[in-house]
């Protein structure tokens, strides 16, 4: 049995660091960390869906786009405050996620990847087309979020604390969700769908719900992305955003929630560093890192570190596998129809 001590200590440390960061770090770092929060929430959505449930989505940028635009349109056209806009962004994105989840039930494995890839590439063209709502090419600007009177710091710090408070809440909710029956069902459907169904796990219900919750998270992330820049445009939500989320999840560690936090920090800061070499360098670094990670550390930075630490203190190793150690049910079946 693993004790909860180290984990609780790590959570406490993370909370303290986030809480005191505005006091110790320069203003632009605080600003960057609002983006880190937005990415962390969205990447968490991808981890729940792809890491825990095995449904490959290459199109989570589309859900971020929906969340961002819902928040932006409500603020821009109706003048509604963000504390109404963000929950509505979550609801809209979640509803769209359930719809895509229902479609995904019929698309096995790599076909889902293909469809969501296409969705992500097509997203900017939707945003450009419905000009009357989305503002077309030019996008929409939002009022910057204002701090309430009792808050002693400036508006940027207020948005920082709001974003991280929401991050904390959604991480907690997600943790509660995947620890119990729901999480077991998700992992069972990923590892051995036939056995899971035989034991009475309803695949339609759990897989659709996973997609919905994952989209809720991406939508919230998108809304915070919109609020941090106070602006949305089709260029914000290109395929590059979707792939950034996947890169964050894979580099951070797609099997653990910590992966979302580490991955978000990586995708926020690595491009700044790499761009100093060349405008094309971030892509090259990401691409090479993705391939090397998959070859040598498939469980990402966090998973790799966990194994390293376990090795150092002499605890038994867990498998560094991305997918189950149990062979998939199909390979047991006799007389597989050969591909022709």
């Amino acid at each position: 049995m693993r004790s909860n001590g180290p984990r609780l200590a790590a959570i406490a440390l993370a909370i303290v660091v986030i809480a005191v960061l505005p006091a110790i770090a320069p203003s632009f770092i605080v600003f960057d960390f609002i983006f880190v929060a937005a990415y962390a929430i969205a990447i968490l959505g991808l981890i729940v869906l792809t890491g825990m449930n095995g449904q490959i989505s290459l199109g989570h940028g589309a859900f971020m786009a929906l969340g961002g635009y819902v928040a932006a349109v409500l603020a821009h056209n109706a003048g509604w405050p963000y504390w109404i806009g963000v929950p509505l962004a979550a609801v809209a994105s979640g509803a769209f996620g359930i719809l895509i989840g229902l479609i995904a039930l019929r698309l096995a494995g790599v076909y889902l990847a293909l469809a969501t890839f296409s969705l992500a590439v097509a997203t900017p063209s939707f945003l450009k087309h419905f000009k009357s709502v989305t503002g077309g090419f030019g996008g929409l600007s939002l009022d910057t979020v204002k701090a309430p009177g009792w808050f002693p710091l400036d508006a940027q710090n207020w948005l920082y604390y709001v974003a991280w408070a929401v991050t904390g809440v959604v991480f907690l909710l997600s943790a509660l969700l995947v620890q119990g029956k729901f999480g077991r069902a998700l992992r069972a459907l990923r590892d051995n769908p036939i056995a899971a169904v035989s034991f009475g796990v309803n695949p339609y219900y759990y897989k659709t719900l996973a997609f919905g919750w994952s989209a809720v998270l991406a939508g919230i992330g998108g809304a915070f992305l919109a609020m941090a820049t106070a602006y949305v445009s089709p260029d914000t939500f290109t395929f590059a955003l979707s792939i950034t989320l996947l890169i964050g999840a894979v580099l951070g560690g797609i099997l653990t929630f910590w992966g979302a936090l580490v991955g978000a920090i990586v995708v926020e800061f690595l491009p700044f560093v790499a761009q100093k070499i060349n405008a094309g360098a971030p892509g090259v670094v990401y691409g090479v890192a993705l391939i090397l990670m998959m070859l040598f550390v498939p469980d990402g930075i966090v998973g790799g570190l966990q194994r390293l630490v376990r090795g150092l203190i002499g605890q038994p190793q867990l498998q560094p596998a991305l997918e189950p150690t149990v062979p998939p049910a199909a390979s047991i079946a006799v007389d597989q129809p050969s591909r022709e």
């Binding site: 698309l107 990847a113 939707f126 691409g287």
Partner: protein, 293 residues
């Protein structure tokens, strides 16, 4: 009527490019069960190489030949170095590795040639050709001819040569082929080489139209996905027919249906992918397979 004929020919031109890219995807999918998400970016990268050669003073068609050679060697090398280690890995791993290639090639092209859009010289005459009283763009006709010749050669190669037969055998019956002495691993690598060649030709054919930039193939690859899915992702004939149908269909829809216009063409491709996968996952020419849950 003239207008319609022109639109159909121009649809066939883009359609033959979708068909070629779709064939490149199908070649790899049939052999290895892998969807190569980097296929479009590989094509883009080789198109930049062709551009660079032309810039350095090489004649267009010589650059074309040299690029095809580079693409072939590059495709084989990629399979050997990057894909082979994950060949038997879980699906998610393989998808992520091809996306890694996607990102790396996109970045490399930006690194070497910048992210600014460049024009690409057309290898065809710029004056229109008169056929039956209708003026057709020589570019469109040239693209159709080059693509069809390429597809024809690929088909001849697979049907008529021993190497082609060995490649088909390796793709469908790897174990049995190995017992007969076929080097299955190298056959798969050759498949990647061929796919890269088809991709490079498509890239050079479409670059004068969409212009050269690191993201030029991202929408093209979505159309190619739609073509492959429509035709049946395991069927080479299906890929070609699917590509042509899609090219003509989308061109006509975009031109004559105002609600679709230019921007929603991509949405139409997305709709084709989703509807075909939901209603008839085997596509027009594929064979239905038994699926586990």
């Amino acid at each position: 009527m003239h207008d319609l004929a022109q639109q159909i020919v121009s649809g066939l031109a883009t359609g033959s490019i979708f068909a070629s890219m779709a064939l490149a995807l199908v070649l790899i999918y049939r052999a290895m069960g892998i969807i190569n998400f980097a296929q479009g970016e590989m094509a883009m990268f080789t198109t930049y190489i062709a551009w660079q050669l032309v810039q350095n003073g090489m004649p267009m068609w010589a650059a074309f030949g040299a690029t095809v050679l580079v693409a072939f060697v590059g495709g084989v090398a990629l399979e050997r170095l990057v894909i082979r280690p994950v060949e038997r890995a879980p699906q998610l791993t393989v998808v992520i590795v091809t996306l890694g290639l996607f990102t790396a090639f996109n970045g490399l092209a930006g690194w070497f040639w910048g992210f600014i859009v460049k024009s690409f010289p057309t290898p065809f005459p710029t004056s229109p050709l008169q056929l039956g009283g209708v003026a057709f763009s020589a570019q469109d006709l040239g693209v159709i001819v080059v693509s069809l010749v390429t597809l024809g050669l690929i088909s001849l190669f697979f049907q008529k040569t021993k190497l082609g037969l060995a490649m088909r055998a390796a793709a469908l019956y790897p174990e049995e082929s190995r017992m007969l002495g076929i080097r299955v691993g190298w056959m798969l690598a050759l498949g990647w080489g061929l796919a890269a060649v088809v991709g490079a030709i498509s890239g050079i054919m479409i670059a004068p139209v969409v212009f050269l930039d690191p993201n030029m193939m991202q929408t093209v690859i979505v159309y190619a996905f739609a073509a492959a899915v429509l035709g049946g992702i395991e069927s080479p004939i299906g890929a070609v027919v699917g590509g042509l149908i899609l090219g003509v269909g989308i061109n006509l829809l975009g031109t004559y249906v105002d609600a679709i216009g230019n921007e929603l063409r991509l949405a139409a491709a997305l709709a084709v992918i989703v509807v075909v996968l939901m209603v008839k996952p085997a596509g027009l020419f594929g064979r239905a397979t038994v699926q586990r849950v």
